[in-house]
């Protein structure tokens, strides 16, 4: 059709025709661009693609006259650009790592795959963090700083040198590990290093803090993206409809998974039906309340118990540190990490069993469970940090004495030298770096503790998968032949993949990575760990796990996990920031030599940047300016909160309006029809048309506004209010539909439509 209008002469186009033609071309272009968004079949779209030919034919013509060449050039470039974009998209998809693997796992169902997608995202995040840390801190120090063994902080002390290469020492991150670039103590506190005058201390501080900032920013952006869709609805708004329309996972390609899915859907249907009915029932409220209080008390006790256990174990480890290393068994040396990982393993199932007392709705129970696990993790982490803090203070004390001792020794040496040689020009003492008296360097100790914690976490995690999933699967499979009861169906059967537990594990792991400020190598370790996890867990899921019985919707709680990650990151940030601000760094190890760590920034501002920036900072940090700024932020938060509440209220009002409008419509129509019915009644001589109003559940209803004479009537109301039963008339309507009246299944729309034809006889 479009090509027919193109018969007009191309050469002689007036201004008006040209404009019209241009418009048509633009329209066609828009159509072609949105072709794929329309639910049309391919044939129709292919025909419409002929419009493309029209465009091509006339785009050249349009450029006649002024600037024809430029126009044609522009058109060609646009086309090339679109093609390039498409090719680039195709190219990009080939580069997403592990896409094939995840698609394999997706056949298990989308919820398990969502965990791996989350893992991949974490891996990307950690890779970026590793890039920052490595490129801006580790690499400059290695390339441009002093090599190993040149200054005391980079050398293994003489007493430790005998054992520095032992595997057990290295495995504990002592020996050569401790005095390497992996830990804080290796870095030199010279203000600039190398030819490029790279400011290492400044870079160290900024990267250490910047890692946090970047993680927070990325998580917030992720949380904002996942907010779209399903944000306006409350939890319980469309439960049944969603269960019906969206519960099937079309990615399932495995018959076993499909069977499980059927079972879980049926269970969830039955549960919700029963739920609705049970909302009215009210059991013994006092017993329930008592049980819930009891459960909470028990859980608080266990949380307190775990906190105390950790504190106790850390104190014991300090005693062990004073004893000779050889007398301690491996268990005693790694007690702290061991206990923490065990607690993380044992407590969640314990909480779940206790929660049985509470008898909550499964969704609410899940929220409580997640909240408790979160409290457990936080409690453990902070107790660990407090216990560590005592240790740090002790180290600081001893450092003071050592510092005094060193200064005193130096003074003595100088006075001896000058008195012996009778000069004031004293060369520095000629002592081998390994023999210099060293301070305790608390930062490296803290870094080592974090690294050991994460390593033990990895070990426990992998061992659990190996034993809990793989060994269990092997035993169940092979012992089943000679065992009295069916191992596969009853206890212990195969393991399920615990999605929520694993996601939480990832989140808490990321929280602990924040100790990277004291151990720059930690981020690299984490990257390796995530890489191995990806392959290891993929294999474990495919080989040893069975599909879920109970469906866990990871996506609805997506925001919840992002919010949790944000909270965990923020809370792990606090201790590090606190130590930066308040504690003074060690005098003989690490990149900071000043009184406080952040003095580096002050120094840089004073010395390196132009003076007016220093003035600006001086003004900005004035308390007189900060207080109003804080006040302003509080006001902004309050205002935004009020606006958001206003929007929510408007939303609810609009919804109510929509519903009452519909009802009003119905009522209006009923009233008017009632009047008509009454008039008709009066006209009729006998009441033969009056049939007893039946209590049918559904009579054929008409869509409002669909009636030929504009009377959209809710016939159900008619039956009860009006005397005559119009249903008799409708079923005699001249229509091809052969539906019997009183169909228990409800109205077929065909009948409704037929009523338009059924009306006339009554008038």
């Amino acid at each position: 059709s479009s090509s027919s209008s193109s018969d007009s002469d191309e050469e002689s186009l007036s201004e008006g025709e040209m404009a019209a033609l241009k418009e048509e071309v633009e329209e066609k272009k828009k159509l072609v661009a949105t072709l794929r968004n329309k639910p049309w079949r391919m044939k129709r779209r292919l025909i419409l693609l002929e419009a493309q030919e029209f465009i091509e034919k006339f785009e050249g013509a349009l450029g006649k006259g002024k600037g024809k060449k430029l126009y044609a050039f522009k058109v060609m470039m646009t086309k090339k650009f679109i093609k390039f974009k498409r090719d680039f998209e195709n190219f990009k998809t080939a580069f997403i790592p592990w896409e094939g693997k995840i698609k394999e796992v997706e056949h298990f169902g989308s919820s398990v795959a969502s965990y791996f997608i989350f893992l991949r995202w974490m891996y990307g995040l950690n890779l970026v963090l590793f890039g920052f840390m490595f490129g801006l801190v580790v690499l400059p120090e290695i390339l441009m700083g002093l090599p190993y063994g040149s200054i005391p902080r980079k050398t293994v002390p003489r007493q430790e040198q005998a054992k520095a290469m032992d595997f057990s020492v290295l495995f504990d991150f002592g020996g050569y590990c401790k005095y390497s670039f992996l830990f804080y103590g290796y870095y030199d506190h010279k203000r600039t290093i190398g030819v490029l005058q790279f400011r290492l201390p400044l870079s160290y501080l900024l990267v250490g803090v910047g890692i946090f900032g970047y993680s927070l920013m990325v998580v917030i952006r992720m949380a904002r993206n996942s907010n779209e869709g399903g944000d306006g609805a409350d939890e319980g708004e469309f439960t049944f409809s969603w269960k019906m329309f969206t519960s099937w996972d079309y990615l399932i390609g495995n018959p076993e998974t499909a069977d499980n899915k059927y079972a879980s859907i049926t269970t969830s249907f039955k549960e919700s039906i029963v739920d609705e009915q049970e909302n009215q029932k009210d059991e013994n409220i006092h017993l329930r309340r008592f049980l819930r209080v009891l459960a909470n008390v028990l859980i608080l006790c266990s949380l307190g118990g775990s906190g105390y256990l950790i504190y106790f174990v850390v104190k014991r480890s300090q005693e062990f540190a004073d004893m000779d290393n050889d007398e301690l068994s491996w268990f005693e040396k790694n007690e702290v990490e061991f206990v923490m990982s065990l607690l993380g393993l044992v407590c969640p199932p314990l909480f779940e069993t206790i929660a049985e007392l509470e008898d909550y709705h499964p969704r609410i129970a899940l929220k409580w469970q997640l909240g408790r696990i979160f409290a457990l993790f936080l409690g453990n982490l902070y107790t660990f940090l407090f216990a560590l803090f005592d240790e740090v203070n002790a180290k600081l004390e001893s450092e003071k004495t050592i510092k005094n001792a060193t200064e005193w020794a130096l003074k003595e040496y100088r006075s001896n030298y000058s008195s012996y040689f009778n000069t004031t020009d004293v060369p520095p003492p000629d002592v081998h770096p390994a023999d210099v008296i060293r301070g305790p360097c608390w930062e490296t100790a803290v870094g080592i503790e974090f690294v050991k914690l994460i390593v033990s976490d990895i070990q426990v995690n992998y061992l659990t998968i190996l034993i809990g999933d793989f060994l269990r699967a092997v035993i169940v499979r092979f012992l089943n032949y000679c065992w009295c009861w069916d191992l596969e169906a009853g206890f212990p059967s195969y393991g399920e993949f615990d999605i929520s537990g694993n996601v939480l594990g990832l989140i808490f792991n990321q929280g602990m990575i924040m100790g990277a400020f004291y151990a720059p190598g930690l981020v690299g370790l984490n990257v390796l760990r995530l890489l191995c996890s990806m392959y290891y867990q993929c294999w474990a899921v495919m080989a040893c796990n069975v599909p879920h019985e109970r469906v866990f919707k990871a996506s609805r709680s997506n925001n919840f996990y992002m919010g949790l990650l944000l909270l965990v990151l923020f809370l792990s940030l606090l201790p590090v920031v606190y130590t930066i601000m308040t504690l003074s760094p060690s005098f003989d190890c690490g990149p900071f030599g000043q009184e406080k760590m952040y003095d580096v920034v002050m120094e840089t501002i004073e010395q390196d940047l132009p003076s007016f920036i220093g003035d600006i900072f001086g003004y900005a940090t004035n308390p007189g300016l900060i207080m109003p700024a804080v006040l302003l932020m509080r006001l902004a938060i309050y205002y935004l909160n009020a606006v958001s509440k206003g929007y929510q209220q408007a939303n609810i009002d609009l919804k109510k309006k929509m519903q009452t409008d519909e009802e009003k419509n119905r009522r209006n129509n009923t009233d008017s029809t009632n009047q008509v019915m009454k008039d008709l009644e009066d006209l009729l001589p006998d009441k033969s048309l009056i049939l007893p109003p039946t209590a049918e559940t559904k009579s054929p209803k008409m869509k409002p506004g669909a009636a030929a004479n504009g009377k959209g009537v809710n016939l159900q109301k008619d039956v009860s209010l009006a005397a005559s039963n119009p249903r008799g008339v409708v079923t005699r309507a001249p229509g091809p539909r052969s539906q019997p009246p009183g169909n228990a299944r409800g109205p077929k729309p065909g009948q409704g439509r037929g009523r338009g034809g059924g009306r006339p006889p009554r008038q």
């Binding site: 072609v32 072709l35 794929r36 968004n37 639910p39 079949r41 391919m42 044939k43 779209r45 292919l46 693609l49 498409r86 195709n90 998809t93 698609k103 989308s110 969502s114 869709g229 399903g230 306006g232 609805a233 708004e237 469309f238 049944f240 409809s241 969603w242 019906m244 329309f245 969206t246 519960s247 099937w248 079309y250 990615l251 399932i252 390609g253 998974t257 499909a258 069977d259 059927y262 079972a263 859907i265 049926t266 249907f269 039955k270 919700s272 039906i273 609705e276 919707k553 996506s555 609805r556 929509m658 519909e662 209803k701 869509k703 409002p704 809710n714 299944r745 409800g746 109205p747 729309p749």
Partner: protein
């Protein structure tokens, strides 16, 4: 236009790319899987129609409770037997692909759930839908009581104009609020 012998022509490929949500690799993979379903002599004919039974042997569709409906909805056959040509197959994959929009997915979901093809979801459609979801065996089905209660609840929630059926706009309204729909309404080869 139709598929050429066993290789997909370059312009056809780029046209399909423009008209569907699939990438080049996905179209080529779809072509490969589709030609695997053809018999030896069928491979050379253009515009071949593959009967529904063969389509249902694909592992991605085999375990799906709506497989027959999917084939029927996407089929352009005159006799309405659910057979698919390659272009129908591409339409199917495009609607179920990762990058398809919510409108496309909800439109096709509505058509799939509309078992009697009358343009609305009434109680009969909903009942058939529930039976598909709860599996084929007798002991997993819902009792008539439960079924009635369930359908009543659903209509309560989604039927805005209270006419006893769910039409396309009501369906899309419910679906657009759901956070899981787009991610679960996916089929990938």
């Amino acid at each position: 236009m139709g598929t050429t012998a066993s290789q997909l022509g370059k312009d056809l490929l780029s046209e399909y790319q423009e008209l569907t949500f699939l990438t080049k690799q996905e179209i080529l993979l779809a072509h490969k899987r589709f030609t695997e379903l053809l018999t030896k002599d069928e491979k050379d004919l253009p515009n071949v129609r593959v009967p529904m039974e063969k389509i249902l042997t694909l592992p991605e569709l085999k375990s799906n409770p709506f497989r027959t409906r999917i084939c029927q909805v996407f089929s352009t056959s005159i006799v309405k037997d659910g057979s698919l040509t390659f272009e129908d197959f591409l339409d199917l994959l495009s609607a179920f692909s990762d990058s398809a929009t919510l409108e496309i997915k909800s439109h096709y979901a509505f058509r799939i759930f509309d078992f009697d093809d009358d343009g609305t979801l009434d109680c009969g459609d909903l009942e058939k839908l529930v039976n598909c979801l709860t599996g084929e065996t007798e002991d997993t089905r819902l009792t008539p009581e439960e079924m009635r209660q369930l359908i009543h609840n659903i209509l309560d929630e989604s039927d805005i104009d209270k006419d006893g059926t769910v039409n396309l706009s009501e369906f899309q309204h419910v679906i657009s609020r759901s956070p899981d729909f787009v991610s679960s309404f996916k089929i990938v080869l």
